[in-house]
Symmetry: C2
Subunit: 438 residues, 2 copies
């Protein structure tokens, strides 16, 4: 198999297969010798990677390599991975059927379980202005929480009915329930989800509700009180709590979420992520005083890693497409920069809810894709991603860089230059494009 990542421009077809090192492959005395020589004569930086931060003068970039990253770059970074995608079997693609926002995958009695936002409606989303009681405004309008199982993680069987249905009007969530997160706590199962009423969208108060069951097969009971509520007026998450993502850490249940304010405009916060804590899976959950704890991202994806909490942050903000880590769940640091991350990932993370204090990470999960690259206006599909964010494997292919794309990637809608911008550029060219100064 020859992938784009194996062939390396200017490396003339020599495959840069570099195993993730577990220790120096050259004898340490040679490294010390070279380092000593470099220090003595201020020679150029050596070709062998110095394991220890050299003491001779370096550029700011090389200082960062030692201080923020590590000398073996991404291939020595346990919180770096690329992501490789596979279509799933068992989720039949049908007109006006959308599946998105999978929970974490859990494995119970040798069966994998996942829940997700499911919409089966009479027509595609028509936009908020045209939505009716039966016409969805968006992809996640008029949705319920669906459940599917798998014996191998590749072939899935979807239940014939929703696992958790919208509660009756006028209860919170009667319009749509979506973006579930799953918790297993003291032998019981909990699903957290956004509860929209009376109407998805616009800017309506949207808390997180919770349903519980004794088995992953249900039946599920709606808890009457909301679990996580928007923050007070004037604050960053005052209208909607999106994408609840439960993790258990140091004896507490942590629910991460994306917050949105009712205010709109360039002078307001767009989206950030916070966390709320509780001892009780039914709540109430108390927001961290340090919120927001993530300054970027779109969907939430947190998981225990070693004795802290890691986060996959995608799509939005200055720290888009990074993996971050925090010792306390509240103070995150950027650990790596990633490409083409899964959208709305739900990793299979067996210790996400165990509070082991030794999170092992994950190697796969489910995510969603908008087949035409659209955002809100179309059906979504579930797909599988594989990666190496696990301390238990060492899959070299996932530690590589130099990911290249085919022609269609650059010229797809959303990446190609749209015609109206091209017209603007042509208009402005004569005044903007000056002669090369020489």
């Amino acid at each position: 198999m020859t992938t784009a990542m194996e062939l390396d421009k200017k490396d003339e077809g020599v495959s840069p297969r570099r195993p993730q090192t577990t220790g120096p492959a050259v004898p340490i005395f040679i490294v010390i010798l070279l380092a000593t020589a470099a220090i003595a004569q201020q020679k150029p930086f050596p070709s062998v990677i110095l394991e220890e931060r050299p003491s001779f003068p370096m550029s700011a970039a090389m200082e960062r390599l030692y201080d923020e990253w590590n000398p073996h770059e991404d291939r020595g970074n346990e919180l770096y991975s690329n992501f490789k995608y596979t279509e799933l079997n068992g989720f039949k693609r049908e007109t006006n059927v959308s599946r998105r926002d999978p929970t974490k995958v859990i494995k119970v009695d040798d069966i994998y379980h996942v829940w997700y936002t499911g919409r089966r409606s009479e027509c595609p989303p028509v936009g908020l202005q045209n939505a009716t009681d039966t016409k969805p405004g968006t992809d996640w309008d008029l949705a319920d929480i669906w459940h599917a199982t798998s014996k191998d993680g590749w072939n899935w069987i979807e239940d014939k009915q929703p696992a958790v249905r919208r509660p009756p009007k006028p209860e919170r969530g009667f319009r749509s329930i979506c973006t579930p997160g799953v918790l297993v706590w003291k032998g019981k199962y909990y699903l957290y989800f956004q509860a929209y009423s009376p109407m998805v969208g616009g800017q309506v108060w949207c808390p997180v509700r919770v349903a519980f069951a004794d088995s992953p097969y249900g039946p599920w009971t709606h808890h009457p009180e909301p679990a996580v509520v928007p923050s007070p007026p004037g604050s960053w998450g005052n209208i909607k709590i999106n994408d609840p993502c439960p993790v258990v850490h140091k004896g507490k249940i942590l629910i991460y979420y994306k917050g949105a304010p009712i205010e709109r405009g360039p002078e307001y916060v767009l989206r950030m992520q916070g966390v709320a804590f509780s001892d009780n899976p039914l709540g109430p959950f108390e927001a961290s005083k340090l919120n927001p704890v993530i300054n970027s991202g779109h969907e939430t994806c947190m998981f225990p890693f070693k004795d802290g909490v890691a986060a996959l942050v995608a799509l939005d903000g200055p720290e888009k497409n990074t993996i971050q880590w925090s010792p306390d769940g509240e103070n995150f640091k950027v650990m790596s920069m990633i490409q083409v991350p899964p959208v709305a990932p739900g990793p299979y993370c067996p210790d996400a809810l165990s509070d082991s204090g030794d999170g092992r990470g994950f190697t796969w999960g489910l995510c969603h894709i908008n087949p035409d690259g659209g955002g809100a206006a179309n059906e979504s599909i579930l797909a599988r991603f594989d990666c190496d964010l696990s301390l238990d494997v060492n899959r070299e292919i996932f530690k590589r860089n130099n990911l290249r794309f085919n022609e269609q990637t650059y010229f797809q809608k959303g990446v190609a230059l749209p015609p109206f911008i091209k017209q603007q550029i042509i208009r402005e060219r004569k005044t903007l494009d000056r002669e090369t100064i020489r």
Copy 2:
């Protein structure tokens, strides 16, 4: 026009059009009032963006927003852009014709000029083991430097012959000359390029040569001496100097380049970027003592910005897909994280060579694409990218985040899970995938 970036999940179809702010859109006294209230009562972080760093306790992420980024995130960052692509007219796609690695675009007497690696060979690249005097080993083997002109930046006319041909055997570069960079200096034109001999690839000593002319139309004369040579044995760039990228800064000619060592293996530096200085365009160029100055990236792309030098760093390393800036050309800081950057970009940057001390950035350029997503083994095409890395325009569409991809992007070769890894994952599943701890 509706792109994926305009429709925003959870925003329910409300288009998040946010003009790049030039100042606070709410009266400053309201901001101060809210900030004061927040400090007094330790309320949650406000929905209005505080222009000044608040003094109340914040998470590490929010501290970075003020200390490393800016409170308006990417939309307030003049060194952030996304990139939008267009196919070019005039570069006829023909079997066994490859065009790649464009220089910066320059504009002389109202005509845009670009040079690039051009290969016209009897067959596609056959790999280094099978290469002959007429069969290329790689995409950039048996190549010359070609030249094309345009009146509008979209429609191009290619010269009928190479602008700079390989010198005769046994001169350096008789096998292939590639990856040109252009300099205009005191009314003369200079092209810098890699000079391969006797054979592209393997691990052969590859310096940068230079050719000069009185006009962008040539004729070009090879200067006999190499301009930039690999660093001494044992150091990081001891075998090849790739992708020479000239910039003029503070009276000096700076040539940035990617260095590669002859040594291969996980214990050696893979690729980093350095800079060399000279007063004379024909050299010799003296390497910075702080090299490498960029710890990541693949092709070079440096340009003057304000009174410093900026760099677009793509594809490789822990700081892949970032834009960086340096006051002195040697000490770079990460300024933004970007997505789907142009490969081997050659921006139209009218002041790249003027040493104005007030670099204005750029809005477009040429890059190359491997149509099938492959790296070294196939023909490449030139394409145009547009962006907003310019201080002279404010094109909001290029400041957006939330770039989404279509289904084909995830399932293309190189991004989809390859079958052999799938087989490994299936084999390892039973021992690796544990029950969810509950």
